[in-house]
């Protein structure tokens, strides 16, 4: 399984658990931030904490939510499940 696939499966599972929706209904295009989002701000924080743990423990990488490159509005990695999964899978290894 590729790192992207691992990350996407993890994020979909987390979003499904947070929202109570079936795993199958969460896809790479499921919106996390902005219009049509499926999680509120408190849930998003929990998702980011889980993603930070996943990055460290599974990928051996550091997910810094506050880095300019990760969080600039123009290309926010938080747009949807797919963009967050892609960002996690492409993080440099520690």
């Amino acid at each position: 399984m590729s790192d992207y696939a691992k990350a996407e499966e993890f994020i979909r599972n987390e979003v499904a658990a947070i929202t109570g929706q079936p795993f199958e209904q969460i896809s790479s295009s499921t919106v996390l931030v902005g219009t049509g989002r499926v999680v509120d701000s408190a849930d998003l924080v929990m998702l980011l904490i889980a993603a930070e743990d996943f990055a460290k423990e599974t990928l051996g990488a550091t997910f810094d939510w506050t880095s300019d490159s990760a969080m600039s509005e123009a290309r926010s990695v938080l747009r949807n499940v797919g963009s967050l999964s892609k960002h996690l899978s492409e993080l440099p290894r520690d």
Binding site: S41, A42, V45, M46, L48, I49, E52, D53, K56, D64, T66
Partner: protein
């Protein structure tokens, strides 16, 4: 054993609180620009005004479930008229007092959120409500801390974490060592309780906010001595 992180732990109110916490059985991790090797608790070198320095010093604690509280006591002051305060001094005061508080909160909040409970205690000053002449830059930085505290309290409320600020008047610490006594007395006279506060007065409020019974107090600024 619960861990409490204290910034500005080398001296002043931060050091006093760290020593009290240690005596109460907490694991204390202090941050300081010039760590005191004689401190009875773990103290790490960090400049809170530098986000990377903060991130590096607190890296392991960001995911530590024993972390219960963060006390942002690091602060600097410089009494001067606005028009005669050098730009670098302005920048340094705002970076240390306001940005330093924000950077430390950013690093430690994830641990508290994950835990589902915790306390963040920031430090403001009685100078904010009293509008003390000659402290505009310091007061501006601390007014920022108060605004940040109120908003951050809302952001963390859903996670069982309270965020409050303590605003002392002139407490006998190194911070006001160079302030003439008549100036200190003039400020104390404006307090509702016109007595100069002590580090113990401040600690008593810290201790109250740390207690489980304070779980409904958040977004508050507690003026020591009243204003």
């Amino acid at each position: 054993m619960d861990t409490v992180i204290v910034t500005g732990a080398s001296r002043g109110l931060g050091r006093f609180c760290a020593d009290q916490l240690l005596a109460q059985g907490y694991r204390v991790v202090g941050l300081g620009r010039t760590p005191d090797p004689k401190a009875g608790f773990e103290i790490r070198e960090a400049d809170v005004a530098d986000s990377e320095s903060v991130a590096s010093a607190l890296k392991d604690l960001r995911r530590d479930p024993t972390v219960y509280a963060l006390i942002n006591a690091a602060g600097i002051a410089s009494m001067n008229l606005v028009v005669t305060t050098p730009a670098e001094t302005v920048r340094r005061i705002v970076e240390t007092n306001l940005l330093g508080t924000i950077f430390c909160c950013q690093q430690i909040a994830p641990a508290l959120i994950k835990r589902g409970s915790g306390r963040i205690i920031n430090f403001s000053t009685l100078g904010v409500p009293l509008a003390i002449k000659g402290e505009a830059i310091y007061v501006a930085s601390k007014a920022g801390v108060e605004g940040f505290t109120r908003v951050f309290a809302r952001e963390l409320a859903a996670h069982g974490v309270t965020v409050n600020a303590i605003a002392p008047g002139p407490i006998e610490t190194a911070l006001i060592a160079k302030v003439p006594k008549d100036k200190v007395d003039a400020v104390v006279a404006q307090q509702i309780i016109p007595r100069q506060g002590t580090p113990l007065d401040v600690w008593n409020i810290v201790s109250m906010l740390l207690s489980p019974e304070s779980s409904m107090i958040s977004g508050a600024v507690l003026n020591v001595g009243g204003a």
